[in-house]
Symmetry: C2
Subunit: 341 residues, 2 copies
Amino acid sequence: MASSIHDLARHLNISIGTVSRALNGRADVNADTRQRVLEAAKKLNYAPNQSGRSLRQGATHSIAFMLQPHPGDQQYGEPFFIPFLTGLQARLAESGLDLFVVMGAPGDYQQERLRRVVETRRADAVVLAWTRREDERIDYLTERGFPFATLGRSRSGGKSYPSLDLDFEKAGSDAVDRLVARGHRRIAAIRPSLDLNFGHLFMTGYRKALRRHGIEVDPGLIAEDFINEAGGYHVTPRVMLSKDRPTAIIFNNDAMALGGCKALAEMGIRPGHDIAVIVIVDTPLCRYFSPALTGFRPALEPMGRRLAEMLLASLPAHAGPEGPRTIREVWPLELIARESD
Amino acid sequence: MASSIHDLARHLNISIGTVSRALNGRADVNADTRQRVLEAAKKLNYAPNQSGRSLRQGATHSIAFMLQPHPGDQQYGEPFFIPFLTGLQARLAESGLDLFVVMGAPGDYQQERLRRVVETRRADAVVLAWTRREDERIDYLTERGFPFATLGRSRSGGKSYPSLDLDFEKAGSDAVDRLVARGHRRIAAIRPSLDLNFGHLFMTGYRKALRRHGIEVDPGLIAEDFINEAGGYHVTPRVMLSKDRPTAIIFNNDAMALGGCKALAEMGIRPGHDIAVIVIVDTPLCRYFSPALTGFRPALEPMGRRLAEMLLASLPAHAGPEGPRTIREVWPLELIARESD
DNA sequence: CGTTTTTCCGTAAACGTTTACGACAACACA
DNA sequence: TGTGTTGTCGTAAACGTTTACGGAAAAACG
């Protein structure tokens, strides 16, 4: 059905070795036989069979991105990831690598699918997101010696893999600074499980900033739930009913903020008037919500490109001649002041 | 590094043929050699090299889902797809197939990536979404004889491929019926390009229902823009400034509705009070927005399972012994009445 | 012209599987 | 004992590539 390298060879009356060399741009092939091969390839619309290449070269020329469902949640925080993936894919494509996304059944932390990808050698490397403080996926990959990179930090696996993260700690701190400067002293924080590393980092910044301002951390103003709309909706009333009501809330996520604002609305509390609201990671939702939510915006697409770059540099087959490799980077989050605080 | 079938054979002092047969559950192998093979496989944690299998069998055991960016848009409407993909992947996994998602650079209609996947035989079949009225991807695949299925209908490619769609026409019609029953007669429609087939279907239902109620279709109440927040935001003021202002708006999409409601808010118009708002496809956003948006909810996860089923039945290698195959299905959208209309 | 170098190409092995085929032993049956 | 059947296994080819190796012809050089 599909044409193989043998068809080309037969068609041109030359050997398959020469065809392969011509196609792969090697030096030891005459300029005009190469020309003829390329033309024939186009004419018969030949494309190399990936299974054949992979088998011979021991490389699949593709990278897997694992989309990790949150525990207790059907959602994936995808709006966040799409621009990141766009950048990642663009940079990988420049090096001739395909990117594909693998999703797991919700709930299993993806360990199963990850093993499958790794053990059946479907990809040359994987990219992990939603890293956890202790992340068994990272342990597995390092132990196994399989190349990977992460979006987000973790305490697992030493420091020997490329990772890129956002400065959630600084964002948490900046959010508190901003609110304190505007006269707030009772500032609530609504976050997912501390197990998710960005939640942990956010809270570290939040706590440090409060202390710096001489404000005692009130556990009644901190609440945890699933990182989705339902989570924000269910948990927000709790902090609002604490005996000394907060005058500001920082949400760790746009979805939690949406749910939270819904709960506030039902209590007759208006963000931007009766209470200040800040969201740690900005998305289009924040911009088009009414009132528009103040948030911290990440440079997702450049981050995708950058992490691809770092991953490539760590792969023997793609490492350029350049010198020292950046292994870990933390990128800033830019405050976008809008109407909600 | 990774163990191959030869390692197993050497370790057990039997031939690779026997090992392969044991692993693949074929009949002509002694029960206890099979036992020993399986144990050894677990011990050396053997997993078959996919490239090897694919090459030999001429099948990759994987299905590609193409995530199609909208023209002029960086977004993908992902929140919509995730539950669908969950169902799709679950059913495919039951048949031993992997699902992966491939994304393209925004703007190129994915034709490039699609060709790549097909020609290098990275997948055994593909699933397309966001089908257009005339869809060159479908033409390409049918012409090429490559197996595929679509989420959404199209006029391209004849009727010879499995497809599953939502009844956007009925939803558009039902939305109008509901609004008319509540006394509205000036009903606006905000939609993306008619090229996107669901937009076209929605408008067909909208038009037919208006005519049925003896209401003339006013072009000033129909507006098109990109199917995202920005699109809804930009275009909504236009219909609100038409000389006879609408009393209701139907948005074709949650993102457009979010942007549109933002624009309404800036004009001092409150959904649910001053104007009725209905969204054709319901998402968590609709539920947690204030006011909660009335919308039409699809059964996305079952749809994913179902389309997988239909695709499998069309693949020679997986077709069960059952008789007639369903080729096209249209599923209903269920109205979820909330506060915005 | 003879020798060396260069240019170009063909041959064949290898990657890890699956599977058609045949072989051999054990067993049943006559 | 001979023949046929059954159960189990080994052998080897094949899938489509890439690539090390060697060889022939052409070019360069003395």
